[in-house]
Symmetry: C2
Subunit: 147 residues, 2 copies
């Protein structure tokens, strides 16, 4: 099992601001993909769509201003059964996001791609909370020929 | 052992262009840190310096237009003994870079940070080759309170 890990700090923000961007359809639409819909409560299913397909996630764990965990239940075979989590804490003037996409079975080339792509989406989340403007799909940063 | 993986595609470039940016002091200075010096041949030592410290790497493997592997011999304790590699291939109109920073002993918080930071430096490399301008330290993108 292999994992994708990231750390991003959102300057001059509150834990609640970042938590809101992770737990509302409006927030998620503004940094990951504008084609986001579904139920953001525990056991709810969130649907994220992109030009090339998408992911369905069940919300498994929520701790306000602290922790979010989703389980992938539909999407590319490599993603199904993996989990995506965000842990938040305050440090200096930053809200720190510790991100994990855990449970990949093999370090396939698609995982390399997703690792870089997650970094750009987390920076989109940082930008959203800091400036009010993110870069969600379909206006996301192109990193390679898979987009 | 845990690894950092990334995939970036450099548009309308040649394998030689990207390989050059990985194997010359001038190239490395223009996307990773402007404080780069040393010997870029096999068994040579490269020194990369940043505001907060730096890394010494021995060049272990070079295959022109294809593969570069460094071993970290000095720097933060978590980095010493790890390896950093770049594998190149052409796909569509892109030079694809498969990046690996392998051999981390634990998925510590610093590894989360380095994973995101590597993504931004690889995008700096992409920008350098595509446009002639990268974002090397000290003009690199700040991702969190550790920079």
């Amino acid at each position: 099992m292999v994992d994708i890990l990231h750390r991003v700090g959102v300057k001059s923000s509150s834990l609640d601001d970042v938590y809101g961007a992770l737990t509302t359809v409006e927030g998620l639409s503004a940094w990951w993909t504008d084609a986001t819909r579904g139920d953001t409560e525990v056991d709810g299913v969130l649907q994220f769509r992109f030009r090339q397909g998408g992911f369905d996630m069940v919300v498994r764990e929520l701790e306000p201003a602290k922790h979010v965990l989703w389980e992938v239940v539909d999407g590319p075979a490599e993603w199904v059964g993996t989990t995506v989590s965000f842990d938040l804490k305050q440090e200096d003037d930053y809200t720190i996001i510790l991100f994990k996409h855990e449970g990949w079975r093999e370090p396939v080339e698609f995982m390399h791609h997703c690792s870089t792509k997650w970094a750009t989406f987390l920076l989109s989340l940082k930008s959203l909370v800091e400036t009010g403007k993110g870069a969600p799909a379909p206006d996301d940063l192109e990193i390679d020929n898979w987009n």
